[in-house]
């Protein structure tokens, strides 16, 4: 069991989401930084899609009431175990009764607490993710509260991790060659033009050319961007159609909305672009108030980035298994 001693609002149980039910109006949900979930799970010896805690309001403190192998991923901050600083992106073993505390990350938005065996909440429609809008899935269909107790899955690979921990190279470093960097600190997010791109003047120059700020009215459902409004050259009558996370819609006010993990399943605003899936985890780590620019990408580039991410995930998984096998042999 994990017991929540202290938590901010909006921290939830998530996994890689609940795809496959958009045709009945059910959002996929799932972690805002799915790459952190995959890596964190690999580090603790899980299949990559087991359920974890997604922390987006800090601090949070939780107590393990059994010996637990865990890793904190996603964040650039240092977790504390009984007050001792640990590394993120690193698997450790906690003893029964030890308290894990996560403080506000330095720059990033979200941290994930991954435990060997995964979080054992009921699977609803094929996923353990919390659907905040639908009020189901995750832990009782709602954000975590003080006093909540969450079971840990059976069959956890309780192989020991090295006393000093078992770390992975974090994705921003491992994928540095595949991540665009700006000179001014703005986050560069790659996107492909979408259906109504052509309705915006000069090939959407005002959209691609300006630096947007992630407004305070942003959450897991979507990021509302602040900046100079962009208007289509003609208004169009849209019929409701399916959408996916990453779609960038332009509502009548002209300030774009990027749909995120809890994206509505249908939409009717003009779509100027769609974020490539392999950049969604980076956007998922962008904080309210931070600045972003969109970079026009290509299908070929999206494929190359996806392959690089897949290779990185596989490397971490294989290495983590190798180390654990070696430890077992030595034991």
């Amino acid at each position: 069991m994990i017991e929540i001693i202290e938590t901010g609002p909006f921290n939830t149980v998530q996994d890689l989401g609940r795809p496959g039910y958009r045709d009945i109006g059910v959002s996929s949900s799932g972690a805002m930084d799915p790459l952190a979930v995959r890596i964190g799970n690999s580090l603790v010896g899980n299949d990559e899609g087991l359920a974890v805690l997604e922390i987006q309001t800090f601090p949070i403190r939780l107590r393990f009431d059994q010996r637990t192998v865990f890793a904190v991923s996603g964040t650039d901050g240092s977790p504390l175990l009984d007050g001792v600083e640990l590394l993120s992106w690193c698997a450790y073993s906690a003893e029964a009764g030890q308290v894990l505390e996560l403080r506000q990350p330095r720059k990033l938005a979200r941290a994930y607490v991954c435990v060997a065996g995964g979080l054992d909440v009921p699977s609803v429609m094929g996923s353990r993710s919390t659907s905040l809008r639908g009020g189901f899935g995750g832990h009782a269909g709602r954000p975590l509260e003080k006093g909540d107790r969450i079971a840990i899955g059976e069959g956890a690979d309780m192989l020991s991790v090295p006393a000093s921990g078992l770390a992975a190279v974090e994705p921003t470093a491992a994928l540095a060659d595949f991540v665009p960097q700006s000179d001014d600190g703005a986050l560069l997010i790659r996107a492909l033009p979408a259906g109504e791109h052509g309705l915006f003047a000069e090939d959407g120059m005002a959209f691609w050319g300006q630096t947007w700020r992630i407004s305070s009215r942003s959450d897991r459902t979507g990021y509302r961007l602040s900046g100079d409004p962009i208007m289509p050259m003609e208004s169009v009558e849209m019929r409701s159609h399916g959408v996916v996370p990453g779609v960038i819609q332009v509502p009548p006010g002209g300030e774009p909305i990027v749909q995120m993990s809890d994206a509505n399943t249908a939409g009717g605003y003009p779509k100027i672009a769609g974020v490539i899936e392999c950049d969604l985890w980076r956007l998922g780590q962008a904080r309210i108030g931070s600045r972003i620019r969109f970079v026009r990408s290509t299908h070929a580039e999206a494929r190359a980035v996806e392959q690089a991410v897949a290779q990185y995930v596989e490397d971490v998984r294989a290495t983590s298994q190798m180390v654990k096998r070696a430890l077992k042999a030595m034991a």
Binding site: R22, D23, I24, L192, E196, H241, E277
Partner: protein, 235 residues
């Protein structure tokens, strides 16, 4: 949307050769949206239903999401050649014959008027109809579920009498109750979640229409017929 010929180089954009060409665009690198040309009507939706059936046989698709005279196809993997995908979707559309889904008939008991009918008075003003007339026109029609989306189990219903068309609000109601019977433009439906809602409420239905723990979570399915049965009228 209307089949607007685009002057700009949209990705994978097909310039309509005639009015019968569908339009295909992409969202990201593995989701493709096909929009039927022509009117928003049952004929177009029947072809979307047919296309949905055809696409269910494609092994490389992860999800098929029929919308209102359109369809979003999400592939399992990013396709190597998006143009090939566009070509395949277009030919599937071109060979799709209209089908009529044989659905069930769902009767939804409605309490028209009363505290949840926050926009009934405004609809009377807009339409020039008395409340009683609005209720009669609304409940006498038979509606078809065109597609589900937006909220878990929410069905987009076609068949609203044009006299009851009412634009969506520019400023949504912040906390409309789950169960409100609503009108949004030329569509009607029942709110599935309590929350912000831009549609106009004229009544309330208690019927449970979504259960995440059921093997068939949504009560409605595309092709179903829906009738609203006045259980109580409070004007």
């Amino acid at each position: 949307m209307t089949a607007t010929p685009n002057k700009h180089n949209l990705p994978y954009e097909i310039i309509p050769a005639g009015t019968s060409r569908a339009r295909i665009s992409s969202i990201g690198a593995r989701s493709f949206l096909l929009e039927a040309p022509g009117d928003f009507d049952l004929a177009a939706q029947r072809r979307i239903w047919a296309l949905t059936q055809t696409l269910k046989g494609w092994a490389d698709l992860a999800e098929i999401i029929p919308g209102m005279t359109n369809l979003l196809a999400i592939f399992k993997e990013m396709p190597e050649d998006p143009d090939e995908v566009v070509g395949r979707l277009l030919s599937a559309w071109d060979s799709s014959q209209s089908i009529d889904l044989v659905g069930k008939t769902i009767e939804i008991p409605v309490h028209y008027g009363g505290e949840f009918a926050t926009d009934l008075a405004a609809l009377c003003d807009l339409s020039g109809l008395a409340g009683r007339e609005v209720v009669r026109i609304h409940h006498q029609a038979t509606y078809r579920v065109f597609a589900l989306g937006s909220a878990p189990g929410f069905g987009y219903l076609h068949g609203l009498d044009p006299r009851l068309y009412m634009p969506r609000k520019t400023v949504p109601s912040l906390k409309m109750a789950k169960g409100c019977v609503t009108i949004g433009g030329m569509q009607t439906g029942v709110a599935m979640l309590t929350g912000p809602n831009g549609w106009n409420s004229i009544g309330f239905a208690e019927l449970q229409m979504f259960d995440p723990l059921s093997p068939t979570p949504a009560m409605m399915a595309p092709g179903d017929s829906v009738r609203f049965v006045p259980e109580r009228i409070e004007l």
